[in-house]
């Protein structure tokens, strides 16, 4: 464990996590939430925390940087001041590395750490709690909105590197935050990034995640959100990279809180991409919208498990979940499982799932307009993905997404 990370309560928290993880290791397929994702390959590797290095592929890094954003760069889970762009930050905004806070002011993180997700949730959380080397701390003052979006750029570099970050996002009452998480890498690293999010009354957070790590990488990313009344949480999850990638997005809604979870997963070759969402309507008048699309080619496998829970008291909940999948090969696979668990009696909850192939009539229509069959298929595939990218209001990010999804506009 990193000796820099001190304070007693923190030490206890990490010790407890380490014990939990040591007992059982990575989650197993006999756990319901992990039944479609086999992690036994991870047990055979020995992922290690790497020292902080700064000799990197700068072209790759800068090509992912967004213009006109504050940028925090993490290399193998270590904050890199050198590559970050953090000048003239708004006064209302606190933007610091977790390691710096632990060093200088650990009381700032103790009210939040482990409060949106506990170590027992599953063993990727305890793994992260035990091994995180750094992370980001973002806190925005009441009524404030930032001049620019914040980009967090995670770069996994070393072989069998463990890049573990623990991150806190705190939006005070009536604040508006916009954050982009970008994950890149060229190695067989293991990323474990856990975000804990706290939205006070009427706060709004729009969080984007773009994961384009190498096809030998392992990725776990979890975002756990606590939403106070009337807060709004918008999440856009673009899962393109990794050999085995898993995303957990969980949110707990209080009265009249709203969430919108959008996702697009693209798998090819032997990629395995698992998306796991949970929306807990704990109080009345909540609104949730979930829309995930997947495109799977070759022998890729996708998983979508979307769970909506409506507590007995959460009357007038309005929830809709939709998952659509496009299979481009006979060997591709999707396991999709929408789950509604409703204990209130006056609610509106809808869900739908489709799995299909490219439409023959549409292919012929495009051929009859001069496009060859491959161009026709590529265009229809891009059009399927396009719908999710179009939902991104942030133009520079949208452009990047088109490039990564191989969509020509």
């Amino acid at each position: 464990m990193n000796t820099k990370l001190k304070s007693d309560s923190l030490n206890n928290f990490r010790q407890n996590a380490l014990e939990l993880f040591s007992e059982n290791g990575f989650p197993k397929t006999n756990e319901e939430e992990w039944r479609y994702t086999n992690l036994s390959a991870l047990e055979k590797k020995s992922f290690k925390t790497q020292p902080h290095i700064e000799t990197i592929n700068e072209t790759l890094l800068t090509s992912h940087m967004l213009d006109d954003a504050w940028i925090m760069v993490f290399i193998d889970g270590h904050f890199s001041k050198k590559y970050s762009r953090l000048t003239q930050i708004d006064e209302a905004l606190e933007l610091t590395s977790i390691s710096q806070l632990i060093e200088e002011n650990p009381d700032k993180i103790t009210p939040y750490l482990g409060k949106a997700v506990c170590n027992k949730t599953h063993n990727f959380i305890s793994y992260n709690s035990a091994y995180f080397t750094d992370g980001f701390f973002i806190k925005l003052a009441p009524q404030a909105s930032t001049r620019k979006p914040i980009q967090i750029l995670h770069y996994a570099l070393g072989s069998e590197t463990r890049a573990a970050t623990r991150n806190l996002i705190i939006g005070a009452e009536f604040s508006t935050l916009e954050i982009i998480e970008t994950f890149i890498g060229e190695s067989n690293s293991l990323t474990a990034a856990v975000n804990e999010v706290f939205l006070a009354k009427n706060a709004t957070l729009t969080l984007y995640k773009l994961q384009t790590e190498s096809q030998t990488a392992y990725h776990f990313g979890g975002t756990y959100c606590k939403q106070q009344p009337h807060s709004i949480f918008n999440h856009h999850n673009f899962a393109f990279g990794g050999l085995i990638a898993r995303n957990d997005i969980h949110t707990d809604l209080e009265t009249a809180a709203e969430c919108s979870l959008n996702g697009l997963y693209l798998g090819e070759k032997r990629q395995h991409i698992d998306n796991h969402t949970r929306i807990n309507h704990n109080q009345p008048y909540g609104i949730s919208r979930e829309f995930y699309k997947g495109i799977l080619n070759d022998r890729a496998r996708g998983v979508f498990q979307g769970r909506v829970f409506v507590a007995k008291d959460a009357q007038k909940t309005d929830s809709a979940m939709n998952n659509r999948n496009l299979l481009l090969s006979n060997k591709a696979e999707i396991d999709t499982k929408p789950q509604l668990e409703i204990y209130a009696d006056d609610v509106k909850c809808a869900h739908g799932v489709t799995i299909g192939q490219l439409d023959e009539k549409s292919i012929f229509y495009l051929q009859s307009r001069g496009l060859d069959i491959n161009a026709a298929k590529a265009l229809l595939t891009a059009a399927f993905a396009n719908e999710m990218i179009e939902k991104v209001p942030l133009e520079p990010l949208k452009k990047q997404l088109y490039v990564h999804a191989n969509i020509i506009t």
Binding site: S362, Q367, S368, R369, G370, D372, L379, A383
Partner: protein, 251 residues
């Protein structure tokens, strides 16, 4: 330009076309009329290369080439255009993207360079005026949420952009009210030229009030049973198809 000889074709085990003959020369407008189930749409599908049909006998020659040997996209690039009876909606693909991709596919086939984006825009807007189409349609997804009339106008717009030699209009009048029909007909008439031929497939005579054909053929039970000039359509309108079919059967 187009020569169809003794065309016999099946869908599955069922014979739909039973020895169809048709000659179309450059600049001619042919109307093919006939009752439901006669094989009109099958003919248009086979000409454009849609799968699901087996040609068991006969030939189709287009500008000296064996049309049946060409892939659908090659036929399109060589100037065969089908205006669909039921145009397909393509969510996520803008109209302007498809129009430009179609035009560039043809240009590439001819060994020409891709068209400049600005030049294209000016040019396509001119074509749209011909069809009384608002420019907003360029940025909408192909046919998505279009009314029946808008879809048919969009087909003619694609035709105007692709500048084909052989235009096959499959029931272009179906589902159109009289105003939309006039607009579509005006668009088609504006595209008539000495080099361009039309094969219009229709159930009703009313389209022919607006697009005057040089020849009218009656297709019944898989073959052409009668051919004539534009007056034949009026005769059909008055007497119906049954009369003719009975005559043909008794010959």
């Amino acid at each position: 330009m187009l020569s169809i000889k003794n065309l016999t074709a099946n869908v599955g085990d069922k014979q739909i076309l039973k020895g169809l003959n048709l000659e179309v020369k450059a600049g001619e407008v042919h109307a093919i009329m006939g009752p439901n189930g006669a094989g009109k749409s099958t003919l248009s599908h086979i000409l454009s290369g849609k799968s699901g049909y087996t040609v068991t006998e006969g030939s189709i020659t287009y500008n000296g080439q064996d049309l049946l040997a060409l892939a659908p996209e090659t036929r399109a690039r060589e100037g065969v255009f089908l205006a669909f009876q039921y145009p397909i909606e393509i969510p996520g693909v803008s109209n302007i993207y498809l129009l430009k991709a179609a035009l560039n596919a043809i240009r590439k086939h001819k060994g020409q360079t891709e068209i400049d984006a600005m030049d294209f825009l000016v040019w396509v807007k001119e074509k749209m005026r011909l069809l009384d189409m608002n420019e907003k349609f360029l940025y909408r997804a192909v046919n998505e949420g279009f009314s029946g009339g808008e879809k048919k106008r969009n087909e003619i717009l694609q035709m105007a952009v692709m500048e084909p030699q052989l235009c096959i209009l499959d029931e272009t009048d179906s589902g159109l009210d009289i105003d939309a029909l006039k607009i579509v007909a005006n668009g088609v008439n504006a595209l008539r030229s000495e080099q361009r031929s039309f094969v219009m497939i229709t159930h009703y005579q009313r389209l022919l009030d607006y697009i005057k054909p040089d020849f009218v053929h009656v297709l019944a039970d898989g073959k052409i049973i009668k051919s004539g000039d534009a007056d034949l359509a009026l005769e059909l309108e008055a007497k119906g198809y049954n009369d003719l079919e009975t005559q043909a059967a008794s010959v």
